[in-house]
């Protein structure tokens, strides 16, 4: 997982010339045993061994983390690679989840086969939404997607489509078997299988994302991010690449949504509010905008930030008791502290923007370069 977001400033070869890209002669030889790759293998190994050694609840949590990581990856393709904003990725997450749930429950498609279908549906939705959104720069796009995120739960509750979406109640998945069936008669529990399935999808999506970035399309997207006018004058079709980036990003986030439906076995409109979009954004900023490996850190953050808020009441009591204020606090401090979780997200976000605007990715890079400097 080396740092793959390096803007390639070489001009693309003219049409008719040999289109295969060569590494420049001065580039250091590609090493298989680079530190980044070693870390990637270790992380992957830990994720594979995890279900063998841990309790099932922890496996479930890690499963959620992987789902969130895919969602963060999707948003990062849009924001980090293409430089467009979205406050509305909860909508694509919802479309993915609902596509999966409806296909499984109404049509009877195998849940694993729903993923490609959900991906296609989300790509089309994202592409179509991205198309008018193309004319919108930065802030206006944020506004349009904000509107999308706010409107999504209401659209899902629409009574005309209630027959399919289950209205406010939502859809319970696997209503006949109660859990995702394990294929090929594999000797493992359903939750363990779903975990490995999610992990496999995550690895696949991640590899495809890296391939995308290194492709001509990826470089065009990054050129648009860095300087739209220069990119356009070099012959990059802005509207095509921007809409494609939006579509791919929506697709990846939609896959995450579909997986979340399989993992949680339940979809309902109120799981896909604006706050989910905020959470995905927080995950991306914490992981590092434009740094793909950050998606795992972002997924962990999305999973554990609410728990940090729960720990907070202990901290408050620790300070309140010696001051004799413990009795003055509300009785259900636990619940009140959970309500404070928004405050904690907020402060973490503000601190990050001030201290480490590149997120975890920037911090790691800073530490690595400092270490290299010390060694030399």
């Amino acid at each position: 997982m080396s740092d793959s977001v390096v803007t390639d400033t070489r001009p693309s070869p003219p049409a008719g010339a040999e289109t295969r890209t060569h590494r420049p002669a001065t580039a250091p030889p590609a090493r298989i045993l680079s530190p980044g790759n070693i870390v990637a293998v270790i992380v992957l190994a830990v994720l594979i061994v995890l279900p063998l050694t841990s309790k099932s609840f922890f496996v479930f949590q890690m499963n959620q983390m992987l789902v969130y990581a895919i969602a963060v990856l999707g948003l990062n393709i849009l924001t980090g690679i293409n430089g467009q904003f979205s406050l509305g990725h909860s909508a694509f997450y919802a479309i993915g989840a609902y596509s999966c749930a409806i296909l499984v429950e109404m049509v009877g498609v195998n849940y694993m086969a729903t993923l490609p279908l959900a991906a296609v549906i989300c790509f089309i939705a994202g592409f179509l939404f991205g198309f008018p959104a193309l004319r919108l720069e930065g802030l206006y796009l944020a506004l349009a997607t904000f509107a999308l995120a706010v409107a999504t739960p209401q659209i899902l509750k629409l009574s005309v489509i209630e027959h399919y979406t289950g209205g406010v109640q939502g859809i319970i998945m696997f209503s006949d078997t109660f859990e995702a069936p394990v294929p090929f008669g594999l000797p493992m529990e359903s939750s363990t299988w779903v975990y490995y399935f999610t992990l496999a999808v995550f690895v696949l999506v991640y590899i495809l994302a890296i391939a995308l970035i290194r492709s001509r399309t990826g470089r065009a997207m990054m050129a648009i991010r860095d300087n739209p006018i220069a990119a356009r004058s070099m012959g990059v079709n802005l509207s095509y690449y921007k809409a494609t980036a939006f579509g791919i990003s929506a697709m990846v986030t939609g896959i995450a949504g579909a997986l979340s439906a399989i993992v949680i076995k339940f979809v309902a409109p109120d799981s896909f509010t604006f706050f989910l979009a905020v959470l995905i954004l927080v995950g991306m900023v914490i992981g590092g905008v434009g740094w793909l490996p950050g998606c795992i850190i972002g997924g962990l953050a999305m999973l554990y930030l609410p728990n940090i808020a729960e720990q907070l009441d202990d901290v408050i009591l620790l300070f309140a008791r010696p001051l004799g204020l413990a009795d003055a606090l509300p009785g259900n401090l636990q619940n009140s502290a959970i309500r404070l979780s928004g405050v904690i997200y907020g402060f973490i976000l503000i601190l990050l923007i001030y201290l480490a605007p590149q997120g975890a990715g920037g911090l790691i890079r800073a530490v690595v370069s400092r270490l290299k400097w010390l060694k030399s």
């Binding site: 919108l136 944020a142 506004l143 997200y345 605007p357």
Partner: protein, 292 residues
């Protein structure tokens, strides 16, 4: 026909709320060329402050001006403390900070005042306005306050020295600084005024929708729709846009059947996208030309 007229008038009275929100959105846009996604939560927080003061027994004609002053100071402080250090940061940083502010205010309000809904009395009283079956006293009051605020703002920007400085600072910060205008202070003042206008909007709307921490999310969306429709650079446009959004929302709710009533938020979504695509400068806004 009477139904149509009734819907138009009730649309206008809803529109007054959106017009207030749109006005505060435009105020901040003028000052910093950003859309403040935390605007609604700032208004909600101000409304809670007003409610709290009235719950402590303060009369409304003291509580409301006090709230507006506190909001003015609060908006000023937010700009000074949070946004001044990242003035030149990229757009993403600003959006993230807006979202952070949104989360902080929303959950702080829930922590302090609980998520249960509270009802707020209208300062204009109950009952129909001058015996009219179409308009309540509160609705008439909202429309009146919005128009007074618009005229007040117009006069402020047209006739006062501070207003002129703010316009100069927004139009051309470099030149404004050279003629001795404290540009960053003007920006902060813009924030303060936006917060104060938001507080008025919140207090006006609280009697209609009940007070709770999430009350402003959809209102803010309509406010954005109004501001975009009227033009982000024009306060008058924002007010007209806000009223129009109210009317469109009501007519759609009445004449599109059940779907229209259920899809009110999506109407705002469609409106925003259509305006941004077809006429991004809005009805009364200036066309923004980008120099390469």
């Amino acid at each position: 026909m009477e139904l149509f007229l009734h819907q138009i008038i009730s649309g206008i009275s809803n529109g007054a709320i959106y017009a207030c929100m749109a006005l505060s959105v435009v105020m901040i846009y003028q000052a910093i060329h950003h859309l403040n996604f935390a605007q609604g939560e700032m208004a909600m927080f101000s409304t809670y402050i007003a409610w709290q003061m009235m719950a402590w027994g303060l009369v409304w004609w003291l509580a409301i001006p006090l709230t507006i002053l506190i909001s003015l100071a609060g908006g000023f402080a937010i700009e000074r403390v949070i946004f001044k250090p990242i003035e030149n940061a990229p757009v993403l940083s600003h959006i993230v900070i807006f979202i952070a502010l949104f989360a902080i205010l929303n959950s702080l309000a829930g922590f302090i005042w609980d998520f249960t809904i509270k009802s707020v009395e209208s300062p204009f009283g109950k009952g129909p306005f001058m015996g009219s079956p179409l308009l309540g006293k509160h609705q008439a009051g909202m429309i009146g306050v919005t128009i007074v605020m618009l005229v007040g703002l117009w006069a402020f920007f047209r006739f006062t020295r501070t207003g002129l400085s703010m316009r100069a600072a927004a139009a051309n910060p470099e030149s404004a600084r050279l003629v001795g205008i404290r540009v960053s202070r003007m920006t902060a003042l813009g924030w303060g005024m936006a917060a104060a206008i938001g507080a008025v909007a919140g207090i006006l709307i609280a009697p209609v929708v009940f007070l709770e921490p999430n009350m402003m999310l959809s209102i803010l969306l309509y406010g954005f729709a109004g501001a975009v429709l009227g033009g982000l650079t024009s306060p008058l446009g924002a007010v007209i846009g806000g009223f129009l959004v109210g009317i469109i929302e009501n007519l759609a709710g009445t004449y599109l059947g059940g779907v229209g009533a259920e899809l009110k938020l999506s109407i705002a979504l469609v409106l925003i996208i259509v305006v941004l695509v077809v006429k991004p400068e809005g009805l009364l806004g200036r066309k923004i030309v980008q120099r390469v």
